[in-house]
Symmetry: C2
Subunit: 275 residues, 2 copies
């Protein structure tokens, strides 16, 4: 980090992130050409078969592609956009690297729901990351509406820390022949939070689905309880997601580490992209 | 109908229904004790196993119970509430009966999505009703929010009339052993409208999910294209639904008529309930 780190977020925004566990920034927060850059890369990214590409239950529709900060130099650059990197460093309070990146596509009529979960349990249990000092960043590649499967949060639920979750044995329906780590990437969450816990938290805090135009940026805490509905609309809902972690919060060595495209094996402190 | 039929809807409301194909009325439209009446009947209604009760794919959660205006005298009375019956007669312009009634429960975490469809094709093809002069009435038994699987409409799509739909052969997954008419009642619609048609209509008209407090009343046209998302929330979304049809629009005799709880075999003109 430089001696005079940028602080792109004002005090209200920081306070909001701490209180709610998420922060939605308008499209103007990022340079206007970011969407063009990502959209120009999308056809290649989505068409490349391989283990980093996860399909929907139907075996045909692309659900996610992982490891983009590793495979796509132009996406690696986006993780270093000064405003974005600065906001993440400001909120995490230190130097950071990208632990995971992906594109999530919710195809029209087809994008499946994601059950209620917290992200951090995967990074703790599968990757050995000891503290929840990570930030999820979602860049909206399409307008997100109430109809195309928005992320749905229980605001403030991150303050309860990691919730008790049941480790579901076996592979989800339709993925029986896939490698074991695929169980952490499908619509059926491997770690399931009890319905009574979700009901209690949602009863106390309510629910919220941040919505916005393409180019909006949504930051959220790895312990924020969230889910997302299926996309029943005729309109795509794609997001580019970066998971930043603090450099002093690297994962412990694991007996069976996940593939590189799920857990960065060579963390490097990110420096802001020069103008 | 009496010589001086009531006209509970003002000109704006009628115009809105004609233009959009739906009309949402606030809880005050019905007497305040309606919800108590229905809620007191619900436990018995939901616990009675039989062909009129349809379960979700999981084989355990109640999805719908049909024929309530036949099996429950107090619900039969609700179909004759003066404001409700008056509004339906006003919009349809004649005497009416209830062709079908049901409770749709979208259970917390479990209520499945309903794919895009128009209701009228079932009443035409399965029940021989020759003109789309019916009205769907949904009484919200719970608050309907963006999170608990609201009905989603393409407003104005009713004006295009009955859309071309593919008759899907066979029984949907999980219902293979059920009677054939069950295919018309599950999440997998029997008649499927082409995705390109849905996309074109939604692109032209947009999408809307009417939301409101428990006790709200939603009227919609049988040709209105609609769907509903799964209920990912911890909160129930139950609706009591009545399908009114004009007395001069009775179904033609069918070779294989559907069960009475799906298609009223003894239509009787409804008179408003006396105070």
């Amino acid at each position: 980090m430089t001696d005079t780190p940028s602080r792109p977020l004002d005090a209200d925004a920081v306070e909001q992130y701490r209180r709610d566990g998420f922060l939605l920034l308008p499209p103007g927060f990022l340079p206007t050409d970011v969407l063009d850059t990502v959209n120009s890369l999308l056809p290649d990214v989505l068409s490349e078969a391989g283990p980093a590409r996860i399909l929907e239950r139907d075996g045909a529709t692309v659900r996610s592609v992982y490891g983009l900060h590793q495979s796509q130099p132009r996406i690696a650059e986006l993780t270093r956009l000064p405003a974005l990197l600065g906001a993440v460093q400001q909120l995490l309070g230190g130097e950071v690297y990208v632990h995971q990146s992906k594109i999530n596509i919710k195809a029209p009529f087809a994008g499946d729901q994601w059950e209620w979960h917290q992200d951090y349990i995967y990074w703790l249990q599968d990757d050995g990351i000891q503290r929840p000092e990570l930030i999820n960043v979602a860049i909206f590649l399409d307008e997100v509406t109430e109809f195309n499967g928005p992320l749905t949060f229980v605001p403030g639920s991150h303050a309860d820390g990691l919730l008790a979750a049941t480790d579901v044995e076996g592979m989800p329906l339709g993925y029986e022949d896939a490698p074991a780590w695929v169980a952490t990437l499908t619509a059926n969450e491997k770690f399931q939070v009890a319905p009574t816990t979700i009901e209690e938290l949602a009863g106390r805090h309510g629910l919220v689905s941040p919505k916005g135009a393409a180019g909006s940026v949504l930051l959220f805490d790895p312990n924020l309880l969230h889910s997302s509905a299926a996309n029943i609309s005729p309109f795509r809902r794609a997001m580019l997601m970066f998971v930043y972690n603090r450099m002093d919060n690297l994962g412990q060595p694991m007996a069976n580490p996940r593939p590189a495209f799920l857990a960065e094996p060579e963390p490097r402190s990110l420096q802001p992209l020069s103008a």
